[in-house]
């Protein structure tokens, strides 16, 4: 059977651990614990650092995802027009996706440091310097980094979506007297909606994974504003607070499942509507 090797490994390293994790979140000890119902969740929700991590996470997703989608869509639309050097430009936008964050993190640190280049510019124009990584500005730094990294990915998806829209639709719209803005909203965006669902999904998922960037930039215990869910989970792991960790993990799984199934349902509704 073709599926067997994959299924065995997949079950062993993902599915079974998954189920175990959910089960453990309802017990009081990792090994041979007794069932305690929702106690772990109560404790978790009462924990200050969990709330901090969760609200940061939602704030980050709420800011970065719409920004990223708007910018990458704009870029894709521009790149889809007649242009010189198109392939070179496209390569340049995708390159950050490939370059490891770890490789360029030193440049970012120097740029955003208290004595760094960004503050030098601010100072030059007579503004007060900001301690970017130790203030609420750190969230902004993270958003910039996330967009820098992911814009190429979304742009590729949007470009593929744009190329599936037949030119006739634009011709028809023009003949009916639609201006550029109307064409954008009534042709481009409507026919791009299936792509949009996927982009939205991937962007949200990737924003949940921004831990890597934060960790490289600011370490295990960064400034409060960018203390993310995964920091919380990693730190719970190292302090052996398994109950809180599995409860947090289960909540996160729940969140992702809701986002995914919700988006898929809306998409199906949309497709039926189009037909």
């Amino acid at each position: 059977m073709f599926l067997a090797p994959s299924l065995i490994g997949f079950a062993m390293f993902y599915l079974i651990p998954f189920a175990m994790g959910i089960y453990e979140s309802f017990t009081d000890n990792a090994i041979g614990g007794t069932f305690v119902g929702l106690d772990n969740y109560k404790e978790l929700l009462a924990s200050g650092s969990f709330r901090k991590a969760a609200s940061n996470m939602f704030l980050f997703t709420g800011i970065s995802v719409p920004l990223l989608i708007a910018l990458s869509l704009f870029l894709a639309i521009l790149l889809n027009r007649p242009l010189f050097l198109r392939n070179w430009l496209r390569t340049a936008f995708i390159l950050p996706l490939v370059v490891p964050v770890a490789s360029i993190v030193m440049i970012w640190q120097i740029f955003f440091d208290w004595n760094g280049t960004l503050n030098a510019w601010l100072h030059h124009y007579g503004m007060a310097r900001v301690d970017w990584l130790q203030s609420d500005g750190s969230m902004g730094v993270l958003v910039v980094m996330y967009i820098w990294k992911n814009i190429g990915y979304n742009m590729i998806l949007f470009l593929a979506g744009l190329q599936t829209i037949p030119q006739d639709y634009y011709e028809t719209a023009r003949i009916e007297g639609a201006g550029r803005v109307r064409q954008l909203f009534h042709v481009t965006l409507v026919y791009l909606t299936p792509t949009m669902f996927f982009v939205l999904l991937i962007s949200i998922i990737n924003s949940f994974k921004v831990f890597r960037e934060t960790y490289l930039l600011a370490g295990d215990y960064p400034y409060d504003r960018i203390y993310m869910m995964q920091h919380f989970m990693n730190n719970m792991f190292f302090s052996l607070d398994i109950q809180k960790l599995t409860a947090a993990a289960t909540l996160m799984v729940g969140c992702i499942v809701i986002v995914v199934t919700g988006l898929l349902r809306v998409e199906r509704r949309f497709r039926e509507f189009m037909e």
Binding site: L7, A30, T117, I205, L245, M252, I256
Partner: protein, 292 residues
């Protein structure tokens, strides 16, 4: 035919070129800074990471990112390659983990995705959905259970703790399933009528047709696993076994002098592979975005 206006085209090209240049700056600066001597780096970025308090009488001192080195020098590279064996070791560690993961995941995912795309059995689409969901989860979600499994297998602090879960990762299954779903069933049915068994259909018809998919998968997996941070951070406490991605995360002030060269060498395999296989890379991303 619509006539092309050259002027707006030039304006747009320049505008996008500027954006592209801004995006490439961090990469370019890393490269140019890697050609400075350690001394120059030390002199230049000395103030980074220190709080100068202006109110308490400190000077307003700033560090500008230096674009070009005073002297072109390969000192950082020689320091790194000749005098710090740790770096080479970690480079080797990275390779020794990434290569088996890619090889393993590609083979196993190819088999599984054939079943998920072309064979009929009960619960097939539900199972595929399960793979997708798993793929979307952040690493931390399965951290504890994964830890317990690894511990039970006695693999703690062993490279296999990274490699085995990597081999069974869901991404390869997802991507190849999407590629295979686009192959018309007429091909497999025709082969079946000619008396071909499943294995023949898989190896003679499906595999040759998804070669671009395999290439795309290899590129994407390489990028993903060469960059991994979370897994080795948890499972490899022994620094002699850690991959290069963690070396750069832990680089401290003393090592900044060679950090840029370390960064450049670290990203080189990825950038080269990307430039070489860019079309596969793009195709892979686009196809994974289309629902089969």
């Amino acid at each position: 035919m619509k006539k092309l206006n050259v002027l707006p085209m030039i304006a747009l090209t320049i505008m996008l070129g500027a954006v592209a240049a801004a995006m490439l700056i961090p990469i370019l600066l890393t490269f140019t800074n890697s050609l400075m001597t350690e001394q120059e780096i030390g002199r230049n970025y000395d103030l980074i990471g220190q709080m100068t308090d202006v109110a308490a009488g400190g000077k307003d001192a700033f560090v500008n990112l230096k674009i070009l080195p005073d002297w072109l020098s390969l000192e950082q590279y020689t320091q790194l390659l000749i005098f710090s064996p740790k770096y080479l070791r970690m480079f080797w560690n990275s390779a020794a983990m990434v290569v088996p993961i890619i090889a393993g995941q590609t083979v196993i995912a190819a088999l599984a995705s054939y079943a998920l795309a072309k064979l009929r059995f009960w619960g097939r689409d539900k199972l595929f959905m399960l793979y997708i969901m798993t793929m979307l989860m952040p690493f931390q979600v399965t951290l504890v259970p994964n830890y317990l499994v690894v511990d039970k297998l006695g693999l703690m602090n062993h490279e296999a703790a990274i490699i085995l879960p990597g081999i069974f990762g869901a991404f390869g299954v997802f991507m190849l399933r999407q590629f295979m779903a686009h192959i018309p069933n007429a091909y497999t049915e025709a082969a079946k009528i000619d008396g071909a068994g499943q294995w023949t259909i898989f190896s003679r018809i499906i595999i040759p047709m998804v070669k671009p998919g395999l290439a795309a998968l290899i590129v994407l997996l390489f990028v993903d696993y060469w960059n991994m941070i979370e897994q080795p951070l948890i499972f490899l406490q022994d620094s002699a076994k850690q991959p290069l991605s963690l070396y750069l995360a832990q680089i401290d002030k003393e090592a900044r002098g060679i950090g840029f060269a370390a960064s450049v060498l670290y990203m080189t395999p990825l950038v080269l592979l990307f430039l070489y296989a860019e079309s596969y890379f793009i195709e892979g991303i686009q196809l994974s975005g289309i629902k089969g």
